[in-house]
């Protein structure tokens, strides 16, 4: 099954870290990226670049900023093709954001 591992980060969670620590955390992301079963990924530009689009009564409303007004922001995702939810959860828990005040949401990808 394919799973999307949606990465939510807490803004500022990398602030105050030394260069070595940052490099170690990036290396962890790269390590996840290299795990077997990876079928896609994207890192998104910071939340300030987001634009939200809604259509109401046929009229397009465009607003500056993200959709959900929560502390954590959607920062990127991995797609993994693995056997089942347990395997997906095991990968999700290796993503640094999960332990740095953020979270990883695991969602099955619709197969067409």
């Amino acid at each position: 099954m394919r799973y999307a591992l949606l990465i939510y980060t807490r803004p500022g969670s990398m602030d105050g870290l030394g260069e070595d620590e940052r490099r170690a955390i990036y290396a962890e992301y790269v390590a996840v990226n290299d795990l077997p079963g990876r079928a896609g990924e994207a890192q998104l530009e910071p939340i300030e670049t987001a634009t939200t689009v809604r259509v109401q009564d046929g009229e397009t409303l465009t607003t500056d900023g993200p959709f959900a007004d929560t502390k954590e922001v959607f920062a990127g995702y991995f797609i993994f093709d693995v056997e089942n939810l347990d395997s997906a959860i095991e990968i999700a828990q290796r993503i640094p954001a999960a332990r740095m005040g953020g979270a990883v949401e695991v969602r099955p990808v619709v197969e067409r």
């Binding site: 099954m1 056997e83 089942n84 939810l85 347990d86 997906a88 959860i89 695991v106 099955p108």
Partner: protein, 373 residues
């Protein structure tokens, strides 16, 4: 039967439909031709064959091709041993941490306890419609999210086993508070756990614990009033159940069990002795507190200390615990202060406990104690 079908088909809904069809066929054919030699095997085989037929008709389910290659078994030739017991896999699926606790509880009672949707709804005082929705949401999540139908690998097993035991204990406690039929269901599930995991001491520990507590149920209330352990009429206890609980505990200890449920069962077993060995009970609570790091367990240890070493020593432990929101912290303090002759402080503590108590039996008990001061 359901466990075997879910295991084979990997789909709750399909398994249920197939089982219903098999029962319908059986009702008609057995009346005409008599029951087969192995009715259980016949039903499972028939249900499997019906499900395969259904899948063959439905060609869009391409991912099920694995099943289509399996030749249909000849119904009359199947014997019981040919059907794998997949209840253990089902157990772990139902208690998967990706399901909400209330969904885990409902699934366990439904799939392993064999209760109907109506019966589960009644036990949890919700409408049948609500319970039906809760169950179908859970079944849909299992299927769509790819929750595995398997016994977890070794590195996940301790955590998952703890979840299974916790769900059964939750059902038991739901029942211990009043609805006796749930306690009986939990004990039934506990027996299934022991049967499926005969080498797991904590499974024996849990079943033992539930039996020992349940044995005292008839003596816990006199009318509406709560009766404390020391004042209970022991002739009301279920002696057979205590005996069984103790022999299960022996089994757990022989398997070198020393976990959460085994220790609690050992305490419950000691509590059924007369006179009580409070020093031994305290030692077990101490061990339990080390595992759980729970202040509530420390509070229980303090009660044992009060009996073995006196109220003064016990109060020192109680006052060191940060449990100001907990009813039994206040009532335990009150009891210790009363014994030490500190009436005013005892009164204040009983009042704090009364402010937090919700169950009517317990409120009456506290009011009685206040009146006696």
């Amino acid at each position: 039967m359901l466990a075997s079908l879910v295991g084979f088909l990997g789909d709750f809904d399909l398994a249920e439909e197939a089982a219903q069809e098999a029962f319908a066929v059986a009702a008609e054919r057995w009346a005409r031709e008599g029951a087969p030699v192995n009715p259980g095997a016949w039903l499972v085989t028939t249900a499997r064959n019906r499900a395969i037929d259904r899948l063959r008709r439905n060609r869009t389910l391409a991912e099920k091709t694995r099943l289509l290659e399996i030749p249909q078994a000849v119904e009359e030739q199947m014997d019981e041993t040919a059907i794998p017991d997949e209840r253990l896999e089902l157990l772990f699926t139902c208690c998967h941490p990706a399901l909400a606790t209330e969904a885990q509880v409902a699934l366990m009672l439904y799939a392993l306890g064999g209760l109907s949707t109506q019966e589960i709804a009644r036990a949890f005082i919700v409408s049948t419609e609500t319970m039906k929705r809760r169950l179908s949401r859970a079944k849909a999540k299992i299927k769509t999210a790819g929750i595995p139908f398997s016994v977890p690998p070794a590195h996940l097993l301790p955590e998952r086993l703890a979840a299974v035991l916790a769900v059964v204990y939750l059902i038991f406690n739901e029942g211990y508070g009043g609805r006796a039929e749930l306690a009986a269901e939990a004990i039934g599930l506990g027996r299934v756990l022991v049967e499926l995991m005969p080498d797991e001491p904590e499974a024996y520990g849990l079943l033992s614990l539930m039996l020992l507590h349940d044995a005292r149920r008839p003596a816990r209330f006199a009318g509406e009033d709560l009766v404390l352990l020391g004042e209970q009429d022991r002739s009301l206890w279920d002696a057979g159940q205590i005996l069984e609980g103790r022999s299960l505990l022996d089994r757990a200890l022989a398997l070198r069990g020393r976990g959460y449920y085994v220790l609690q069962a050992a305490i419950a077993s000691l509590q059924a002795d007369d006179p009580l060995d409070w020093a031994q009970i305290e030692a077990l609570y101490r061990e339990l507190a080390q595992i759980t790091r729970s202040p509530v367990i420390e509070l229980n240890r303090a009660v044992a200390v009060a009996e073995s070493r006196g109220a003064e020593a016990a109060l020192a432990i109680v006052d060191g615990l940060d449990l100001g929101e907990y009813q039994y912290w206040h009532s335990t303090r009150a009891e210790l202060l009363r014994r030490l002759g500190r009436g005013d402080e005892a009164r204040a503590a009983y009042l704090s406990a009364l402010g937090l108590a919700r169950a009517e039996g317990e409120r009456r008990f506290l009011r009685r104690r206040l009146a006696e001061l």
